[in-house]
Every structure is written in C-alpha cells, then in structure tokens.
C-alpha cells in the first residue's frame, strides 16, 4: 500500500467532490419540493390526485435507482428533442439530476406524509376555526410543525442519497468516486485511491448520521 499520490491529487478529487455535493444539494432541494407536493396530492380528497401520487411512489420504489439513472440518461435528451423539436445537448449532469429528483421525491413523499399525519387534527381544525383556508392552514400551521418533526428523517434520507450519488459512475459523470477511480488509475495506485474514497464517504456519512442522532434527541418532545 502506497498512499503517496493522494495528497498531490487532492485538487482533482476535490473537483469530483464538488460535483457530488452540487448534485446532492440540488437533488435534495428538488426531491423535497416535489416530494412535498406529492405528499399533499396523496392526502388530498381528490381520488385522481391521490391515486396518481400513490402510483408514482409505488412505481419509483419498486425499481432500482441505477435503472432510473441509466434510463433517464438515455431518455431525457430524446424526450426534450420531441418536445422542442430540435436537438438540445443535455449533459449527463442534468439527466442524473432529473433522475435523482424524481426518484428521491418518492421517498421524501412518504417521509413528509408521515410527518404531516403525525400532527394532531386539532391543529387544522383550529386553523379553520380562525378562518384560514386550506392552503393557509397547510402553509402556516401544519407544514412548519411537520417539517420540524421530520427533519431527522429527511436528513437521514439525505445521507443515503449522498452515498447513492456515487451511482452516477454508471453514466460516466466525474463525481467523487469516479474522480478517485480515474486518478487512481493514472497514478497506478487504484487500490489506494479506492480505499481513500471509501474512507472519505465513511467519515462524512458517519459524522453526519452521528449529528442527526444528536439532533433527533434534541428535537424529541
């Protein structure tokens, strides 16, 4: 084992990590936004809306993320081409981002739904009683409480997503893992770079989940 080339390679590994984090942040933001909309649709009185949301969640939870990533990588450019009628170069990054947002939304949806359902009925009744509309009650009363309750779960899912971003390797995007693989091959120390990458993922995930556990204790009522 010879880890001598890791330090000189840190800048290019950091480039990969930046891409990983960028993808992660955008996917989390998009996933939670879409997931919240889906959760609201799933709980709405409209059979069509809730049926659609349920089917969406079931669909994405039964197929592997890697299938979604590969699928979107091939399909997003073609679909955009049909819609706009002209060829638009969509990078692997955009395709992956769309795949992650759509896939993760199904998981975030279930977390948000559980969070909303854990709020007592009296809250929404009280909001109606003081004359709020449904959307006001949701926006001002229910969602803020629900999000506080589900913060630990959302963060836990985000840590899982952080690890799952490494799957973009499948479509050749240079994220942290792929940067480490490529750099390791060039430097002739592929084992060492892979072990280093594993260690970095471990330290970040372990550190983050320790923090989440602490937060969970503090937020517990």
């Amino acid at each position: 084992m010879d880890f001598s080339q890791i330090i000189p390679s840190l800048p290019s590994l950091w480039d990969g990590m930046k891409l990983t984090l960028q993808l992660l942040l955008l996917a989390v933001a998009g996933g939670i936004a879409l997931g919240t909309v889906l959760a609201l649709a799933r709980m709405s009185n409209s059979a069509v809306l809730s049926g659609f949301a349920k089917a969406y969640v079931n669909y994405f939870r039964s197929i592997p993320l890697l299938l979604v990533i590969t699928w979107f990588y091939l399909a997003v450019p073609m679909i955009l081409n049909w819609i706009t009628g002209e060829f638009i170069a969509v990078g692997a990054f955009t395709s992956c981002l769309v795949a992650f947002v759509m896939f993760e939304a199904a998981y975030y949806c279930e977390i948000v739904r559980a969070g909303i359902q854990s709020i007592s009925k009296g809250q929404i009744n009280a909001a109606y009683a003081v004359g709020m509309t449904y959307s006001q009650a949701m926006r001002l009363i229910i969602l803020p409480q629900a999000f506080r309750k589900m913060t630990p779960l959302l963060l836990q899912q985000t840590i899982i997503l952080f690890q799952d971003t490494s799957l973009v390797y499948a479509v050749g995007l240079i994220d942290f893992l792929n940067a480490a693989r490529a750099r390791g091959d060039i430097m002739g120390q592929s084992h060492e770079f892979l072990i280093f990458a594993g260690a970095v993922y471990f330290v970040i995930s372990f550190g983050a989940s320790t923090l989440v556990k602490r937060l969970q204790k503090r937020l517990a009522v």
């Binding site: 592997p64 590969t70 892979l194 993922y201």
Partner: protein, 247 residues
C-alpha cells in the same frame, strides 16, 4: 415524435446465435434472482448473528457488531462492490487469488464478488432489524426464560428469536426487496444481470424505450409478487393476541 415504437423487438433475433432479445431478459432475470437469493440467505444468517450480538450483555461482542453496522452502512454500496471486486482479491492468499483470477470465468468471479458484497452490506441492515425486534420484546420474556433455568443460548433460540423474527417481517421484507434492486450494481462490474441485459438490448436494437419499459415492468412485477408472498408469510406466522394478530 420520430421514434419508431416496435414492441415486437423482443422476439427479434439479436444477431448473436439464434437468440432473441427476450432470451437476454430471461437470462438477466435469472442472474438477478441468483444474486439476490444467495446474498439474502447469507445476509439473513450473518445479520441475525450480528443482531443477537448487539443485544448480548458484556461490551466486546456488542461493540464488534456495532462497528460492523457503522462500517457497512456508511460506505456507498458501489464503493464496497469495487473493493470486493478489484481490491480484496489482490490480498487473498496465493492459491485463492489464482483460483479467483484465473480458474473462475469472469461471470463467476463477478457473481462471487456481488454476492459477497450484497450479503455483507445487507447483513448490517438485517442486524439492525433483528436488534430492534429483540429489544421490542418485553423485558419479562428473557427474565422469565432465565428464571426457569434456560441458558442464554436457549433463551434466544426458544423465546426471543421466534418472537422477534415474527415482529420484524415487514422491515425484513423491504430489505429482501432492496437486495433485488441493489443487485443491479452488478451491471457495473460486467455481470449480465437484468439491467446489463437491458442496456445491451437498448444498444443493439436502438429500441431504448421498449427495452427499459420491459425492465421496469419486470422489476415492478418481481417486487409486487415478493410483497404478496411476504404478506402471506406474515399472516401465517402472526403472533396471536398482538396488535394486528389473528383474531
């Protein structure tokens, strides 16, 4: 929309031997199932041992199991797969190394790596479920068993585990489903499982949408059937008198 839909593609020749594309999917599904089932059996055994270890009195055994869980839960699955496939074989004893790299054909050595990887990865999750199941039982259960003279081993075997396993069937079911989905990472080290066959079909036939639609349907149907199967099992082994138990 200038895409030529052609659902007959699956019955067309691949141009390789007398195979049609559907044969590729069948063999891919076969690999997926072969990976998932073997890995699941190992994960269930190892995970149960680790789960029991985490609930044992003393310090050393629980600490080992905890360290295992943290290690395998906090490293991405793909990184673990690369470790098992690219790194670990180089540090095996000489005869094993030669066997793995030269005697095995590439499909088998990829299969071995994926099974080991998924089994150890999933064992960490099974461990947590087993631990939760054991800890969810009332303290009186183990106290009573020890009081009538059971050894710790007997307490686990006859009192705690039979109850714990029945409680944790729902989360174990989702781990079981996960192992099928996770087996798709095998496509990245060249094992021709379902996803790899799908990609290959998409490339060979240029009928991307049909290929991926079929793959999605297969995963979906697989998932639904396993879920139905597991809910039958759950009904069968329910503990009477518990919440949701038999009436």
């Amino acid at each position: 929309m200038n895409y030529n839909w052609d659902w007959n593609i699956f019955f067309k020749s691949t141009g390789i031997g007398s195979e049609i594309y559907l044969d590729w999917f069948v063999s891919g599904l076969g690999w997926t199932i072969a990976v998932a089932l073997l890995a699941w059996i190992i994960a269930l055994l190892l995970g149960s041992v680790l789960g029991v270890m985490r609930t044992l009195p003393g310090k050393v055994l629980p600490a080992i199991a905890t360290a295992y869980v943290e290690l395998f839960r906090n490293v991405p699955l793909l990184v673990q797969l690369f470790m098992w496939y690219f790194v670990v074989p180089d540090y095996l004893p000489e005869p094993l190394q030669i066997w793995f790299k030269q005697d095995l054909n590439p499909a088998t050595s990829a299969y071995v790596s994926v099974v080991v990887c998924l089994a150890l990865f999933t064992a960490a999750r099974v461990c947590e479920q087993v631990r939760t199941g054991i800890q969810a039982l009332p303290k009186g259960q183990s106290a009573a068993a020890l009081a009538v003279g059971f050894s710790i081993g007997q307490t686990y075997r006859h009192v705690l585990l039979p109850q714990a396993f029945r409680i944790i069937i729902p989360p174990l079911t989702s781990e079981f489903l996960n192992i099928f989905k996770n087996s798709s990472v095998a496509s990245l080290i060249g094992l021709m499982e379902l996803l790899a066959q799908t990609k290959q079909t998409a490339e060979f036939s240029a009928n991307i949408f049909e290929a991926f639609t079929l793959a999605t349907v297969i995963y979906f149907v697989l998932n639904m059937s396993l879920m139905t199967l597991m809910s039958l099992v759950e009904k069968k082994v329910r503990i009477p008198g518990m919440m949701g138990g038999a009436k």
